[in-house]
């Protein structure tokens, strides 16, 4: 079976990168970057996820096209769910805080 064996050095290197990125993302959270805090956090998370997918899950070394197709499809479908839902939530208008209705008396029925 032709299987690519990854070197221990590479595995440890990826592990070290993941640890560093974790420390970075936690530390950067304390710095005020305005709206970019969220962007930076998600970019770092995506970087970490990529490292795990490509190296720990061997996607970089696989000759299987379907593996990559499945990953892309799943991410695409997830984005579909989010983007089209946001088409509704993003265009409803009105102040966001108006979403909480006045407290009706609502008895929870178990």
């Amino acid at each position: 079976m032709s299987e690519h064996v990854v070197s221990n050095k590479l595995y440890v290197g990826i592990w070290a990168s993941l640890m560093v990125l974790t420390v970075v993302t936690a530390s950067v959270a304390f710095i005020d970057l305005g709206p970019f805090n969220t962007v930076v956090a998600l970019v770092i998370a995506t970087l970490k996820a990529l490292l795990v997918v490509l190296f720990f899950m061997h996607v970089k070394y696989t000759s299987e096209k379907m593996t990559k197709a499945v990953i892309v499809a799943a991410i695409f479908w997830l984005l579909l769910l989010m983007v089209l839902s946001l088409a509704d939530y993003g265009t409803r208008g009105g102040r966001v805080s108006a979403q909480v209705r006045a407290p009706a008396v609502m008895r929870f029925v178990g």
Binding site: M66, A73, A74, W77, L80, L81, L84, S85, A87, D88, T91, R92, G93, Q99, V100, R101, P103, A104, M106, F108, V109, G110
Partner: protein
């Protein structure tokens, strides 16, 4: 042909082994298909029983047969049983499980034990749901809308939610098995463009099962958590949005209707080609349109929410997308019709079901376009117009495709021929009963009769009486095949290996097939539907 002596029965998947254990612990895809056949038929009759009670109540304008709360339970459970325990599994779990390995020339599906697990998950889910029915049932509508389901309903929402959650995983595993099998286990020479369109249809269906069902699973789980732990995610008084539930729910439940219709379309394609003795017109268009339906079907879900409170702009987007999704479906109708044109038609039972499908599906599909139009939808949503629309597709379409497929492949599955004359009688009964039941409902909805109502204004009674009368005829049409198909198991004529002289690898095996399907892995050199080179069967077989 010998008519007296019963021929010596060859070794096949049914007689290969006897005993409960050999059936309940089987990994043979054909036996699992039969296990599913028995189970979904059972649930079909439960769902049908609820339907009959609904139609009985609606004979009169007053609410005089059952209490209003009971009526709420009846339509809710009719929907949930029919959708989750009958329609979604029906063709894929019965005909798909049986035929996919045969059609691709494989000995079994890729994961036979997971196939068995899939059936057991279905049974566990069914048992939980049965228990739920017995201890009081559920009254939220099949759609579990919040906050009624999470905070106000006094019925067994958690149980029903858990049951359907588990049934969802049964569905996911079936889809997973099909995708891997179709990708990896095709016989030598069986390229993608030579696959039967039944396989393409099941491939598209499996994509939907894999990508859509998990969202239903998490949605139901959140409803269960909210009810059990008083969470507040869908509770408006705590800032929750009931529409979030609807978005999540319909993200699955709209593609789910394509799970229910695509396999049926695959069946119809096989039947139409065989009984027109012609290759299917526009093979690549039919294949591509199956995938197109699967993909586009995920883009239209909020058309169930046009009047629920979504923004006007998103309503516009979803309306346009809903028109788009009709295109691939229409392409199929054109292709079936073009296949029949100048074909050599035999009006066998499966062909009668197929022709009924084409007409009724077209009506159901066109009325879907009415509903996609925002202006019309405002008036007819939540009326019997919608009820008629989806029953035309689900019953006039999917169920007729299922019955057509059962009849078409019955000789292969059971090794027996069903009595053709009774087959035709049942098919015509179903068609007539169906139209009498549901056509009046289009009119009722258009005139304003709301759905899910236990009482109605007296001026709607005549049409309701027609509808109920039709439902009893429809019921007869469904019971007939049960009777004669079971009869045929014992007394039917033994079937030849290919009674219809149909194209397809499954017809090259014996009827019924051996446990491992093929003695030698077949090698495919022809395109699918090579009817030019297959002589038509002798006339007597088709009668």
């Amino acid at each position: 042909m010998a008519t007296v002596a019963v021929p010596v029965e060859r070794d096949n998947y049914i007689n290969h082994e006897y005993g409960m254990r050999s059936w309940l612990l089987t990994t043979d895809h054909k036996r699992i298909a039969l296990l599913y056949l028995a189970s979904i038929t059972f649930f079909f009759f439960i769902g049908g029983f609820f339907a009959l009670l609904i139609r009985l109540e609606l004979l009169t304008p007053a609410g005089d047969l059952v209490l209003s709360d009971t009526y709420n339970k009846l339509f809710s459970m009719h929907g949930q049983v029919m959708i989750f325990f009958f329609l979604v599994p029906s063709i894929p779990a019965v005909l798909g499980n049986f035929l996919v390995p045969l059609m691709v020339g494989a000995k079994d599906l890729a994961f036979p034990r997971i196939n068995l697990l899939s059936w057991y998950l279905y049974i566990i889910a069914g048992a939980i749901y049965l228990h739920c029915i017995i201890v009081g049932g559920v009254d939220t509508g099949w759609t579990f809308y919040t906050p009624f389901s999470t905070a106000f309903s006094n019925t067994k929402v958690i149980e029903a939610g858990i049951a359907i959650f588990i049934a969802g995983f049964s569905s996911i595993l079936t889809g997973l098995n099909f995708v891997v099998t179709i990708h990896r286990m095709r016989a030598p020479g069986l390229t993608w463009s030579r696959l039967p369109l039944f396989i393409w249809a099941h491939y598209a269906t499996s994509i939907i099962m894999l990508l859509g069902t998990p969202v239903l699973a998490i949605t139901l789980l959140l409803v269960v958590f909210e009810r059990a732990f008083n969470l507040g995610i869908f509770d408006p008084t705590r800032g929750g949005d009931p529409l979030l539930f609807q978005h999540l729910f319909w993200f699955y439940s709209h593609p789910a209707v394509y799970i229910m219709i695509l396999p049926s379309m695959g069946v119809i394609t096989e039947i139409v080609a065989c009984f027109s003795r012609k290759r299917i017109f526009g093979y690549s268009f039919v294949a591509a349109s199956s995938i197109g339906i699967a993909v586009l079907g995920f883009l239209v879900w909020a058309h169930h929410m046009f009047v629920a409170g979504i923004s006007l702009y998103s309503a516009l987007i979803f309306s346009i997308l809903s028109y788009l999704v009709a295109v691939p479906s229409a392409i199929k109708v054109f292709n079936w019709t073009a296949t029949m044109y100048k074909g050599s038609i035999t009006f066998s039972t499966p062909m009668l079901y197929a022709m009924g499908f084409i007409g009724l599906f077209t009506m159901g599909g066109l009325t879907g376009l009415f509903l996609a139009c925002l202006g019309i939808d405002v008036h007819v949503t939540d009326t019997y117009f919608v009820v008629a629309h989806f029953h035309y597709i689900m019953v006039g379409g999917a169920v007729m495709g299922y019955l057509g497929g059962i009849h078409f492949w019955w000789p292969k599955i059971s090794g027996r021929l069903y009595p053709e004359i009774w087959g035709k009688i049942a098919a015509v009964t179903v068609f007539l009963g169906f139209n009498l039941t549901f056509f009046p409902q289009f009119i009722l909805g258009y005139l304003g009769m709301p759905r899910r109502y236990w009482q109605y204004p007296p001026e709607f009674q005549v049409l309701n009486v027609f509808s109920t009368a039709g439902s009893t005829i429809l019921a007869v049409g469904y019971v007939l095949p049960m009777v004669y198909l079971i009869w045929s198991l014992r007394y039917g004529k033994p079937a030849p290996d290919n009674p219809w002289a149909a194209a397809g690898l499954e017809w090259t095996t014996q009827s019924p097939p051996t446990t491992f399907n093929f003695d030698e892995t077949p090698v495919v050199t022809q395109e699918a539907y090579d009817y030019e080179h297959i002589p038509a069967p002798p006339l007597e077989v088709a009668l």
